[in-house]
Amino acid sequence: MTLATIEMETAVIDAQVLFYFHYAYSKVPALLQDLKKKVIAGKITVIIPVVAISELYYKLRKKMDSDTDQDVEQRLAKLKIAIQRWKSSDHVIIDAFDTQLLDLMLQNKQYHEIFDEIIAMSCKRHGTNIIYATDKKYREIFHLDLRSWKKAR
């Protein structure tokens, strides 16, 4: 009997997906509920670019008019918990923006917004073209396999 080699699927995820990983499950889009189940079951590995975590950091540390300092501190404490969970999760890889990624960017002959390029190069570094996000640019410009939970307009 020959054992077939099963290649595990790998996908990059954006900041909104990160958020939904820790949001009330019933309010999470079905596509992302399914993604989360697959990560837990070890059927897919998700790549979290550090720049995506930075977006979530921006959202949570932003002080609204109605916020007290304590509100912001509480939100950031939640982010710390979330980061700790990602770090300790099987099939979750936090992908740094580092010199290797810069080297990949320098191989590109044309450029786009740096943020989007970093995300695209994270895909390239991990040998996948799958991205869970809603921004059509990832498909139209970077030719990635966009897995969006928003209906096409």
């Binding site: 820790h22 977006e55 959202k59 990602w86 999760s89 044309q110 943020f115 190069m121």
Partner: protein
């Protein structure tokens, strides 16, 4: 099947035991999923399904709303402020 049910299994020469299929199904324990083995001092080995951190459903961000399109856009700009860039495409495939 009831909680507290016990089974007897023979340990194989390389230390393997079989977790009954019904129990695996009950705990949603699929192929290659990790379990934790804990050695206690009274001849017990406790086998626990290892909880994946994403399985913790404590509604961590429950009182915060998901990103709006505007928030996502502003967050990106806060990292790399808007710049002049062209519309040329990048091919990220193999050369």
């Amino acid at each position: 099947m009831t909680v507290g049910e016990k089974v007897v299994e023979n340990v194989t020469s390389n230390g393997r035991i079989t977790i009954p299929q019904k129990w695996r199904k009950l705990l949603d324990l699929g192929d290659n999923m990790p379990v934790e083995l804990e050695l206690s001092d009274n001849k017990e080995i406790i086998v626990k399904k290892k909880e994946h951190p994403l399985e913790i459903e404590d509604d961590l961000f429950g009182d915060i709303e998901p990103f709006t399109e505007e928030e996502l856009s502003k967050a990106k700009e806060s990292i790399f402020p808007e710049q002049e860039w062209n519309d040329n495409h990048i091919d990220i495939g193999d050369d």
